[in-house]
């Protein structure tokens, strides 16, 4: 097949679908196993220096912050990250010095809240390497990874510099002659997700929009899930259509209420707007020690996410619940 045009972007994730399939055969148990463990142990066991990570949710929404903070706390290094609308999730990882490479669809911005100082510094200095994609393109790559094929033809990015800074290749469709862009599939090493409900075996329910978490779980080697509520498998069996991710994909399950704070957990709690604003302000300070102090206060100096929640305080958390349900906070 003749390549008509190609981008120069580097492929940061080297896993191929055929290797993944062989790996899965040997390493992923099919039996119903109790997969509950502590966040600390799950990160230690399943996240390694140099891994490629896919993060669930959408930037500020249903992001697995309890898992993110623990990755930073364990000072895991040289991660590559799928920046598939990544906002506060990737920002904390980058502030913590965990990230070397990013596949960018949307990063640096905090949507209406403006740009991140931390990410601007790291991307503008060239310290963190990048390739450019689109949100659709990253989802297509993950769908190819989940499907087990090495590339996928898409109809986006064509004709643009976004394409020229990706590893994409333009070819003519062998059936119709139409030009399409081929993108490499993506099989992340680890996928971290915060969900509404799961049972101890890793059957996962997500309420509201799923964003890309279903595909990411299917494409990835390891899947770590925190959930607002651990439920019995009887409840899962009563409504199995709600299982977005089935148990055999999941390696660890942790019940962690408020596990997306300061993010927005649909039907549970709204953003902690002030917390995110304070975090952004720390990152925008030209003195990097300001962000180090923030990380000390909220990550390094505390033992785990339960301690973090205690520090946030019950009143503030319950107010976020009121905001979610469009009630004026009363506490």
């Amino acid at each position: 097949m003749k390549i008509l045009k190609e981008g120069t972007g580097e492929i940061f994730c080297k896993n191929t679908p055929t290797e993944m399939r062989n790996w899965t055969r040997k390493n992923k148990p099919r039996a119903l196993i109790d997969k509950r463990m502590r966040i600390k142990d799950a990160i230690k066991k399943f996240v390694k220096d140099g891994d490629y990570i896919a993060i669930g949710g959408f930037g500020h929404i249903r992001i697995p912050m309890a898992l993110i903070y623990e990755i930073v706390r364990q000072r895991i290094k040289n991660l590559s990250v799928a920046g598939h609308t990544a906002v506060q999730d990737i920002d904390v990882l980058m502030a913590g010095g965990c990230v070397s490479n990013v596949d960018i669809a949307y990063v640096v911005g905090f949507e209406l809240r403006g740009l991140s100082g931390v990410q601007r510094r790291l991307f503008e200095s060239g310290e963190v390497k990048k390739a450019d994609y689109t949100n659709g393109a990253m989802s297509y790559r993950i769908r190819a990874g989940a499907q087990g094929v090495p590339f996928i033809p898409v109809k986006v990015m064509l004709g643009t510099d976004t394409m020229m800074h990706s590893p994409g290749k333009v070819v003519k469709c062998p059936f119709t002659g139409e030009k399409v862009l081929l993108l490499p599939s993506l099989n992340p090493d680890v996928c971290i997700i915060h969900a509404h409900k799961a049972d101890m075996y890793g059957n996962v329910q997500i309420e509201g929009h799923i964003v890309k978490d279903d595909l990411q779980a299917r494409a990835s080697k390891r899947v770590i899930v925190t959930c607002e509520e651990l439920i019995s498998d009887e409840k899962i069996r009563a409504d199995p259509g709600k299982t977005v991710i089935p148990f055999y994909m999941v390696d660890a399950v942790i019940e962690q209420p408020w596990g997306s704070h300061p993010g927005n957990m649909p039907y549970k709690y709204y953003f902690d707007h002030q917390f995110t604003e304070d975090y952004l302000t720390a990152g925008r300070d030209n003195n990097p020690e300001t962000m180090e102090r923030w990380l000390d206060e909220w990550v390094y100096s505390i033992n785990d996410f339960d301690e973090y929640l205690t520090k946030i305080g019950a009143k503030r958390l319950y107010n976020l619940r009121d905001l979610e349900f469009l009630r004026p906070p009363v506490r």
Binding site: T85, V87, V107, G109, G159, V180
Partner: protein, 259 residues
């Protein structure tokens, strides 16, 4: 000229809203474009269907969401789905309009939301990148572009990086590169004026100025040559009702229109 009771940003939102026909569908992000889509729903286009790229379809938006995925974007929605499903839906031809913006735009409507500078590895400023913008600009039938702060720094001869395709380098360029026929930017709404694109040349064409703005003002603020329509008009100011809906119903917290 009588003292106006509205700001240019409010006028932009109203002009953008008027581009959306009833019974059509729109993919939208946050900010001014979303105010426009909500305003259209609450005025002339009650049957406008809103899609959010994170997976919210046809919500009944209570107030302005601050993120493309936040709970408000799925409030009383008819369907919650995945990002790829929204992109597939757009590719399959169900989505009429998409709203886009950027840091820079050129005469063909190509948008840059990726970087400023000429060195990709070490840009002067790194912006978020495409997000869903390139997907929207490639796949939606009609792209509506909103650009505030109309100036030669933003309306440039050549963008530093083509994040999202407009008409690329001229007539048939989109088709030549593999994008589907019948797609592309249709309007550019700025704080000075309203452009469309010349059907022959695919270059931006001035079709209306905002009240009090002259053609010379637009020429001075634009870093490239553009066409001028034979039927050059003036945009119609917001009604009292438009302004009330924007401030009291859509954005009571003043996130897009600070009080």
């Amino acid at each position: 000229m009588a003292k106006k009771n509205y700001t240019l940003r409010e006028l932009m939102a109203v002009v953008a809203a008027r581009q959306l026909a009833d019974g059509k569908s729109v993919a939208v992000g946050t900010g001014l474009p979303l105010v426009a889509a909500m305003l259209a729903q609450k005025t002339h286009a009650p049957n406008l269907v809103i899609f959010f790229e994170a997976g919210g379809i046809a919500p009944q938006l209570p107030t302005l969401p601050i993120s493309v995925g936040d709970s408000r974007t799925i409030h009383k929605a008819l369907c919650t789905t995945t990002l790829i499903d929204i992109m597939d839906t757009m590719r399959r031809g169900y989505i009429d309009y998409a709203f886009l913006g950027g840091a820079q735009i050129d005469s063909y409507g190509n948008l840059n939301s990726t970087m400023i500078g000429d060195n990709y590895d070490m840009p002067k400023v790194r912006f978020p990148g495409s997000g869903g913008a390139n997907d929207f600009g490639s796949l939606a039938w009609e792209t509506l572009i909103i650009m505030d702060r109309h100036s030669p720094r933003r309306f440039v001869e050549k963008v530093d990086f083509i994040t999202t395709p407009g008409y690329l380098y001229g007539p048939n360029a989109r088709e030549e590169e593999g994008l589907s026929p019948g797609t592309g930017p249709s309007k550019v709404i700025t704080d000075l004026c309203l452009f469309d694109f010349d059907p022959e040349t695919k270059v931006m064409r001035l079709i209306a100025t905002h009240p009090g703005i002259t053609v010379e003002d637009v020429i001075k603020a634009t870093g490239f040559e553009f066409g001028i329509s034979d039927n050059l008009g003036t945009t119609t100011p917001p009604t009292e009702d438009d302004l009330r809906i924007i401030h009291e119903v859509i954005d009571p917290e003043g996130r897009v229109f600070p009080k």
